[in-house]
Symmetry: C3
């Protein structure tokens, strides 16, 4: 297989395999070579007349600046926004419309950061031009992982197998550790060691996932134990902004003995990495360590330029500009999330209600007590529809019956957000003609759950695991509520695996 990044999106590190990562490292090494041979501007006409849009819905200097630098050194230009105060977001424009607006401005590539998980896959689905994920909430930041891997590649004699690395700081709330370790899982004989308080430790699901991919993950008691055994130590900043009620003081206590200071590092030959910024108050890396030979995080920062320069070059070199179609892809309209249910005879009591309407909708399997809220949310009275929200405590059932003939996607989403197991029954001529569950990603931070964004939930079959197309979280379908036939039928109707995603854009 020939490796090419031309016009491809860069959304999740998991979309790229071993050979692709090595290829990118090789290209980044060439950029590194240009710089070190005083040919910083050796490619300064390559992307002339190409333009990058940056869409930073969350603050960024580091990522934005490095992409702009990369583009500048390739002769391209950049424009966009950073922070939402001065943008149409304040006027409640959707991601979809904003992406279309930027594409109408004839940019050739988009780099975007957004607080919602999955927002970047959605942006990539909307855009005809390639999209690079500059961070989607707690989810991913793949060019950070790639520059980290590239740093390891450089420090480890252009080899990524057999690496032994330690992780420290906050392994739980950031996207860095997850993405980096998944990137490393493509390589052989990877050993990860870590030491941290439970609250800041490696998430169990990640440890399991890594184990399944052949990565050795070992928890140590002390940072010193990790450092003595690892070639590299990757320290991270506690992500206070994602910790809810935890204060900085709490975190400072937790991180106490896990700080990197000269004492811990002085006897080892470890190379110290950090995605930066270091929080100077928490001081997870102490002042003196900055002057130690172990310091590798400043070169790591420069590696971000090389990696991003290589990525943009590989995406855009010798390509024609993509014209703006002015239309949305029809595939954006609908999801892959309707779990069809078998239509069968109902218990008498329930049928009684259904039989009463010739045409309409019954929503059953509601969480007891939610039927009123759901009826109110559908605004049935004002729309002149009849409605019977019913709660039958003995039968343990709640449902809502109405003569409204159908439900919009927004309405389906609103119901499912309130009552995730709700089942929709469409009635025609007194019979149920359609019966389904509207599946919605369970990740609270997923872009598909924000009603106004109108992102149709889509799932795909990742080797038997159902995953959200957007935030990539797995979705377990409760088997006691549906038959195995129904489950099989649903899985069969899903697009297979990750190929579906990377061949996107």
């Amino acid at each position: 297989m020939e490796i090419s990044f031309k016009k491809r999106d860069m959304i999740s590190i998991t979309d790229f395999g071993r050979e692709e990562i090595i290829y990118l490292c090789q290209q980044a090494k060439k950029m590194h070579g240009l710089e070190k041979n005083k040919q910083r501007d050796g490619l300064s006409d390559e992307l002339k007349n190409k333009a990058m849009a940056y869409m930073f819905y969350e603050p960024s200097t580091r990522t934005k600046t490095s992409f702009i630098t990369a583009m500048r050194q390739l002769g391209g230009s950049s424009d966009g926004f950073s922070g939402i105060e001065s943008t149409s977001v304040m006027k409640k424009e959707t991601i979809r419309d904003t992406v279309m607006m930027m594409e109408a401005n004839h940019f050739d590539v988009i780099v975007m950061r957004h607080p919602l998980g999955g927002s970047l896959q959605w942006a990539a689905d909307v855009a005809s031009i390639p999209v690079i994920n500059g961070g989607d909430g707690e989810n991913e930041h793949p060019t950070q992982s790639l520059l980290d891997v590239f740093t390891l590649y450089l420090l480890n004699n252009e080899n990524l197998d057999g690496i032994s690395i330690g992780f420290g700081g906050d392994l739980s709330h950031g996207r860095t550790i997850r993405s980096l370790s998944l990137a490393l899982s493509n390589f052989k004989d990877i050993t990860i060691r870590w030491a941290a308080e439970d609250f800041l430790g490696m998430p169990e699901d990640l440890v399991e996932l890594l184990a399944s991919k052949g990565v050795t993950v070992m928890r140590e008691k002390r940072v010193e134990d990790v450092i003595s055994k690892a070639q590299f130590y990757y320290m991270t900043r506690p992500q206070l902004e994602r910790m809810g009620d935890i204060t900085q003081e709490d975190v400072m206590k937790m991180i106490g003995k896990y700080r990197i200071d000269l004492e811990k590092i002085k006897k080892s030959e470890v190379k110290l990495m950090h995605p930066l910024p270091v929080n100077s108050e928490i001081s997870e890396i102490s002042y003196e360590v900055y002057f130690d030979d172990s310091q590798a995080f400043f070169p790591q920062a420069e590696n971000g330029i090389f990696l991003r320069k290589a990525l943009l070059y590989e995406m855009l070199k010798e390509t024609e500009s993509i014209p703006f179609s002015g239309k949305l892809n029809p595939l954006l309209e609908r999801g892959h999330n309707r779990l069809k249910r078998t239509i069968k005879e109902k218990v008498k009591e329930e049928r009684r209600f259904i039989d009463n309407i010739a045409e309409g909708t019954v929503v059953d399997h509601l969480e007891p007590g939610t039927e009123q809220e759901i009826a109110a949310g559908l605004d049935l009275t004002k729309r002149g529809c009849s409605s019977i929200p019913a709660h039958l405590p003995k039968a343990g059932k709640s449902f809502l019956k109405t003569d409204l003939p159908g439900l919009s996607e927004r309405e389906l989403k609103r119901i499912t957000l309130i009552s995730p197991e709700a089942t929709i029954n469409h009635i025609k001529k007194g019979k149920i003609v359609d019966k389904f569950v509207y599946l919605l990603c369970r990740n609270m931070n997923c872009v598909t759950r924000v009603i106004n964004e109108d992102v149709p939930p889509k799932f795909y079959d990742d080797k038997g695991t159902v995953r959200c197309r957007y935030c990539r979280k797995s979705y377990s379908i409760r088997s006691d509520k549906i038959s195995s036939n129904e489950r099989e039928e649903f899985l069969g109707s899903l697009p297979k695996g990750i190929e579906q995603i990377t061949s996107g854009s």
Copy 2:
């Protein structure tokens, strides 16, 4: 007449006539042709070394980005500010000084947005370089109108006569509908239909103005009636930010049945336009419509690039840069707003006061009860002046007498803001030697009313209507207070019509 946009300002759509609008559409069509023939960068050296300043005192992504894109594709560069938090506006710098500062920076053209009506004409008066209005409050946004007209031009076989268009959404609080319909009024057989709640409906003065220009405007009951009869439907976003106490919920109720959904649009061949952004919560255009063939608002957005590219090209191509003079035009110092009053004998009571001072000023015809406030505002005590604020209830008169020999422009403005009919009498050697009313634009949002901006009020004679040079609102002089002779003399002293304005800069 040869049409040229070289070094001209673009402040109000009403400054441009039929032939000029057609000419711009033709030039924009050429830019459109380049793009569609894969020659996006065909003019990429034309404005090399030309620079555009953007001065956005209000949020913008859309307008700013499209101007920067246009400039980039022509080989020019852009710099400026967006949002006032990080600018000298916070240090209370005037528009005048900020425009001069930008001009000192050797920009070749300014694009500016500002919340005050008329601020853009003022900026254009100050600047020696051309100025483009990117939106001045509720007033105008002429390049939006031009791109709208250009979209109609493209969709209607390069013809702008005989167009039948529907308007929806908020026809009352935005500048889009006003400017677009005035632009269309240059063409033959234009029919406008609309349907909306009264609160969001077409303003009566606009309807009358359009009628006087031969445009047919018809109100319909239902959106469906409009859509079935119109070729184009122009939907707009409710301008919540300009509605005062009205909440989004109120607006959602009002807009209810006027929303554009698939049901309303499916049987027609209408093309749906929208200046964007759509408010995704109000959802004035529903999700499904985005996928319908009627959708023309994304191409419309791209047309903004073509139109602005054409405009900048026409303004700046083959021009020498204009040197910065470092001086203000002396014409900026004074207004055309002193309505001279006939000096005649006064009633005894009033004369008594005037006779008491040899040199000084009497301000009469004050709103009863404002004399104290005005005296205080002039700070007469601290300046060592004598002052007699008099209120004579029986005579129904209020006036202020002082031995201050003259009033500055700021003082005249301050008095007139409090008491609009105030008449200034200058006394020398016991006699009135000068008597005038200081006229001030009645538009509360006009830049001339902001004291610190020091914009001298100017009026002009637009075919018998007195208009504010800045916000273009008409000004009616109350005839019961002045003689028809005085009125005629004032009109005679005003510059005639709009030529005075467009020949500016």
Copy 3:
């Protein structure tokens, strides 16, 4: 001596002498000549592929825009941040790390503004690329001074000797007056006259300093007296943002009769300068004056372009790009601020305590009553150290004894911030082996006092005056507490004079 600005920093105007200032004026005059001869873009390829980083931690339009314009006209590019809301500063990144991050982005020069005095010298120390001070708090803004001097140079027939200038507005709270008068002090027969309320008047220390450099400074009663005697009048904006509790209304009263209006200026031939912006509410220069021939502040603004263009050109022309080392200079780790104290026999009572510990630290000469706070700040209990904070009222002594073997730089700084005369005694085997005072700059606004920034305090010997390397404020060592021997030894250990600083980067 050949004059060159290649790769040099521009931090303080006091780093540059007469010949250097004249040289820069000559180069700026060339840029001025290009513009006036319609060759604005005559150097538009000179800095191709060179890039300027702007790092504005405080709002700026004027300074940022003029640097970007200068860079643009030389063919270079610019990127960076303005305002801290959308940057990593919010994540508590140090200046040091942010500068390193920008340098990793391959910029060739940094222009930075920061609220802390001395922050720019620190940035210059960190960076391998040249750094230009765009304003460090109340401290300096050298390119403003240089453009002011260049304006005088142009207006005074390219001569800077014998100038007679008046100062007005706020001579006390801004950095402009200080820097400009120090710049002028390099020239012969300079006379400065000023008139202002005491609160806004010339600082005494500045007047003394100028006198010592041969500048005549004379206070006049009235602005009119200054104007009648001076060639130039330099008006400034009251720096409300640096006045604490003073309101704008207070300032308006104070500035009352010192405002520049037409009355005051009309009989003179004075040229009126102002760094801009003028505060339009305070109106320190009245509206009418803008139209007077005396107005020289708009040309002065344009001169900023010429000066900055000349400066960037001189710094970067025909230079190779400086590669990013990825390392911090080891000199950044330690300060020149340890005042060694003679170790001698102690009074019995104090020895008793010291003798009790074999290894540890005693901090004495504490401000009475601070010993508890200092002990708490060192967190000794949690670290398992014993501690005795002692207050001996009769002896008038406070000290803290602990078996903690050493103190980190942050701890030394924390102690000294609380108790500036604190003396550190290190005990080994029961004896004091080291004894010193940790000197900290007394300027409350100096970057060295911000603990998290980790700037090691450095002092140097400026002809017998001890100055802070960062904010340049002088530091007086209390002689009653130390012997003259100790003082001499400390002075001898300091780097000499200003050469040390300019040869930096």
